[in-house]
């Protein structure tokens, strides 16, 4: 759902650019708490994978297609702050080099995909995980459910932005229902890909998966708190 230039008016685009800037600044701080020598390469990989996966539009019926957003996949694997950054990198490369998503709409796309989809989806993941916090097998399922919700959530957020500064008068109820309908279908694809990717990484290296850290790390391994105290 890369928003092109022209869909939202100037003031709204400036506002979403502001939201995006604040979110990315916060993420640059937050990600430092999530990243270490082992998770940084995974975070780089996540960005590359999301870029590649977003090239693959899958059909969802009636001549419509969708592709992975990747927000929840990233948040579960490397943490939500790092996910916001990884998705932002992807969106900037797409907008600047590939004309995928508008330039004045870049703030809008970062807001919708790197902020709303990531954080709403991650909140859902945490909620599902809270049912059985010690279960590793629940993690890919929780990720899939979060992924499923994240796509229509971003679609609804787009509708909200359209209500503020949309280029044409469209019935908002109709826009919301149509957007949510199609993006729930796309969300199913999002859920499947997220489930598979999270399962794969979890099977290979559960110790570096953000959402599984509490399962494998034992207390004395908190190297960072030691370093912090001594500084």
């Amino acid at each position: 759902m890369h928003v092109p230039d022209g869909f939202l008016d100037g003031p709204t685009s400036v506002a979403t650019a502001g939201v995006a800037a604040v979110a990315v600044a916060a993420a640059l701080r937050g990600a430092r708490r999530e990243l270490d020598d082992r998770t940084a390469p995974l975070a780089g990989l996540v960005a590359v994978f999301v870029f590649a996966a977003q090239m693959i539009n899958f059909p969802v019926g009636a001549g419509t297609s969708g592709h992975l957003m990747g927000g929840v996949l990233a948040a579960v694997l490397v943490g939500p702050w790092t996910a916001t950054l990884a998705l932002t990198v992807v969106l900037i490369v797409q907008a600047l080099a590939f004309a995928d998503g508008g330039l004045t709409a870049l703030g809008t796309n970062i807001t919708l995909i790197a902020v709303v989809a990531v954080w709403i989806g991650y909140a859902v993941v945490r909620l599902v995980q809270s049912a059985r916090p010690q279960s590793r097998r629940l993690i890919p399922v929780a990720a899939a459910i979060g992924a499923l919700v994240s796509v229509p959530a971003a679609a609804l957020a787009f509708t909200g932005l359209w209500a503020v500064g949309g280029a044409a008068p469209i019935d908002l109820g109709l826009l919301a229902s149509t957007m949510i309908g199609w993006h729930t279908l796309i969300g199913i694809g999002e859920a499947v890909i997220t489930f598979l990717a999270v399962s794969a990484v979890l099977g290979a290296r559960p110790d570096i998966v953000h959402a599984a850290r509490h399962l494998t790390q034992q207390r004395p391994l908190e190297v960072r708190t030691t370093a912090e105290a001594s500084s």
Partner: protein, 114 residues
Amino acid sequence: MSTTTEKPTAPGRRVPLRVLVGIGLAVSLVLAVVVSLFASASPDGLEHVAETLGFADAAADSAVADSPLADYGTAGVENEWLSTAIAGAVGLLITGLVAFGLMRLLARRPVDRD
């Protein structure tokens, strides 16, 4: 500062990080240069909704719509597959350089210093 690379404590065999990242990059490359050729060309969800509800015309061309890689095609490359494959590979390279570099930089910064 120097992150201690302690052995993970939980039992079980683990794939070396380098192998995991290598496989992930290989999968990404296959997606970008091979599978991308089979991607659906239908409008995506937002485009479809815009067409259905009649606001598709509001979309304006991006200022970089004439860039050599615009719309995941490579300017001057006739072959459809090659055109997409080159664009995809270049995209992966740029994304990878920026993302791996940024994440590595952030991982090396002390956690709470400002």
